[in-house]
């Protein structure tokens, strides 16, 4: 075998160092495999911890942009009067008053904290009771919307019983119905046509705090979901344009690198590594 010499050796100093490094690396690989063989359970447990940790980190990295978006929309919505999704907030309930007045001067008040569920800004014309079949009486009830009319005008119309100017003040009627009733008193039968109206008011300085209802919370939550889904378009689009993170490939690699050690495979690998090392050191 011909051996030329470079600087007194056939290897330079750097090459000698490289050789030592190569042998050391081979030796360390063998020692690691032998350790894993002797402490198989510990090695597998350690692998499991590292594997699960790495998979978790990968999952966090995958989910992070979307979670962040959801967090931002959650926070933004929480700052609005609508409150937080999922959580039944304490909502400010202002005192509301419903006032019913008629042309005879009768006034009825209903007060509650919170909005009236069903309220209608209406003024209704009640006609005179007329005899009908089978000892029943019937009368006309015509309703008009008062939404675009001030409370003062409504009150004046009711107080002045302005039956003939209703369409001029309130526009076309919104409903016309006929009421039928029996067992009326004489006072009721003889009552002249009259007007009745509903007025609403809110007291901003008189309020309480009460938990929102399930329905309200579900609505806020649904709104949050829709907004979040729309906003998720941005991180999704960014990921599509910058596909440098393949989650499933990374998981595969982690599972491969930190898979549970199979004793037979380990022994085969050890045999191969030892054979190479001994061949170089014999």
């Amino acid at each position: 075998m011909k051996k030329s010499k470079i600087n007194g050796n056939h290897l330079t100093k750097i090459q000698e160092l490289k050789k030592k490094k190569m042998l050391l690396k081979m030796k360390k690989e063998i020692e690691k495999l032998e350790f894993n063989k002797r402490h198989l359970k510990i090695s597998n447990f350690k692998n499991k911890i590292i594997r699960d940790f790495n998979i978790s980190m990968c999952t966090v990295r995958l989910v992070a942009p979307y979670a962040l978006t959801a967090g931002i929309t959650f926070g933004a919505l929480s700052l609005t009067p609508l409150g937080m999704p999922f959580i039944m907030d304490n909502k400010k309930q202002k005192k509301e008053t419903k006032q019913t007045i008629d042309s005879f001067g009768k006034v009825k008040y209903e007060e509650q904290y919170g909005a009236f569920k069903d309220y209608y800004y209406t003024i209704s014309y009640f006609g005179k009771w007329k005899p009908d079949k089978d000892s029943f009486y019937s009368r006309e009830v015509i309703s008009y919307s008062t939404t675009n009319v001030s409370d003062d005008k409504v009150e004046k119309a009711v107080n002045d019983n302005e039956i003939n100017s209703l369409e001029d003040i309130f526009g076309k009627p919104i409903s016309k119905k006929t009421e039928k009733q029996n067992n009326l008193t004489n006072d009721e039968i003889n009552k002249e046509p009259y007007l009745e109206a509903n007025l609403y008011s809110k007291n901003n300085s008189d309020y309480i705090y009460a938990k929102e209802t399930v329905g309200e919370n579900v609505t806020v939550t649904a709104l949050w979901l829709i907004i979040t889904l729309l906003c998720e378009y941005f991180p999704l689009s960014y990921r599509a344009d910058h596909p440098d993170f393949d989650y499933y490939e990374r998981i595969d690699n982690i599972n491969y690198k930190y898979s549970n050690i199979n004793i037979k495979e380990l022994e085969k690998k050890l045999e191969i590594k030892k054979a190479n090392y001994y061949r170089l050191t014999r």
């Binding site: 030329s4 290897l11 050789k19 690998k269 191969i272 170089l280």
Partner: protein, 365 residues
């Protein structure tokens, strides 16, 4: 008076060469071992082998302008690539080869890819220059990806009509398939993901066929029919002419499907060098049955999965290259591509090795 011929005649022991090649290379590895000698690397001492490994690791292989094959040896390439600018590649290819000798065709198994098929080639300077040009055209315009293979066809006449040559070939392939595969991974550390599907390892099947065919004293036709199981195996014999193996028909080839895709002409050349030398060795009278049998016993069914082929089997690799190659230059080229700086893959990805080739063409005399 005639001048004395003072030149030293270097004896080149060769089974494949009919061309005299004299290798000259100033690299340190070839000061350690003479490139034109045929040293038994498998019998080297450990210390010498350590030095050799380091010197090989510092050597970068280049495309050679010749390999030393005789004119009777023919081969061809199927260069696959993906995510390619196909129209541009086609146009540039056509500019250089207007006679369409090197032609681009579609391949449905590739993702937005194609393959370039070479004409029937011989070991000429022009062949390697053309290969270099083709790779240079494709490289900036395409990628080698998970599905890209690097199939090589070698004319069946290289193995010939002798049934023993065929049995030798499947025997040596079966026993050294793990070495051949890692070598033909090229600049990757592992098999491409679709390997099992399109280029199935044959170690067990070939041994089974070998034992059966040897014991039944089968004739050549039976041998070829038996080993031509499917096209999608590491070595495909479906193109072999049943009438006369040694005939120079265009499609009478043995197709090596195991190499990973590459756009490096040095790797293509190195692959074809191994395959041709394997075939020629199988045909030669110096085929060492004892070594191969002994190695089969040592292997002892250890390759239960393709993953084991990723490992380095140093002794076995040295043994193979001593048998198959007849000069140290070829052996160094083989070992450089096989060892890949002693790197073995440690995750599940289709990872590249450290670079071991250099651009340019090396002139051999």
């Amino acid at each position: 008076m005639a001048k004395k011929n003072n030149r030293k005649k270097r004896k080149i022991v060769s089974r494949t060469l009919s061309k005299r090649i004299i290798y000259r290379d100033d690299a340190p590895v070839f000061k350690f071992i003479d490139p034109n000698n045929n040293d038994k690397l498998s019998e080297m001492s450990g210390l010498d082998l350590q030095d050799l490994m380091i010197l090989i690791d510092d050597y970068y292989i280049k495309l050679r302008n010749q390999l030393g094959f005789g004119d009777d040896i023919t081969f061809g390439f199927e260069i696959e690539f993906e995510h390619a600018m196909r129209t541009t590649i086609y146009d540039r290819l056509y500019n250089i080869f207007p006679d369409e000798t090197w032609i681009m065709v579609g391949d449905g198994s590739l993702e937005a890819g194609a393959e370039i098929n070479s004409p029937i080639l011989k070991d000429k300077i022009k062949t390697w220059e053309d290969l270099n040009r083709v790779c240079s055209i494709v490289e900036p315009l395409a990628y080698i990806n998970d599905r890209s293979g690097g199939h090589i066809h070698v004319g069946t006449q290289t193995l010939g009509d002798n049934r023993d040559s065929w049995l030798n070939f499947i025997k040596i392939w079966s026993v050294y398939e793990n070495i051949i595969f890692r070598f033909t991974y090229g600049n990757y550390l592992t098999a491409r993901p679709v390997m099992q599907r399109y280029s199935e390892p044959m170690t067990k099947d070939f041994w089974r066929f070998y034992e059966k065919l040897k014991s039944t004293n089968a004739d050549l036709n039976t041998i070829i029919n038996t080993i031509s199981n499917t096209k999608y195996q590491a070595v495909n014999f479906n193109n072999v002419s049943r009438k006369k193996c040694s005939s120079y028909k265009p499609n009478n080839t043995i197709e090596f499907r195991c190499p990973n895709g590459s756009l490096d002409p040095a790797i293509w050349q190195n692959n074809v060098n191994l395959f041709v030398n394997l075939l020629c060795y199988s045909k030669s009278s110096s085929f060492n049955d004892d070594i191969v049998e002994k190695r089969h016993q040592i292997n002892n069914d250890r390759f239960s999965s393709l993953g084991y082929y990723d490992e380095i089997y140093l002794d076995q690799a040295l043994e193979l290259c001593d048998m198959v190659f007849s000069n140290n230059f070829d052996k160094v080229y083989f070992l450089r591509q096989y060892l890949k700086s002693f790197k073995v893959r440690n995750d599940n990805s289709y990872k590249k090795s450290l670079k071991f080739t250099k651009k340019g063409i090396k002139k051999v005399v």
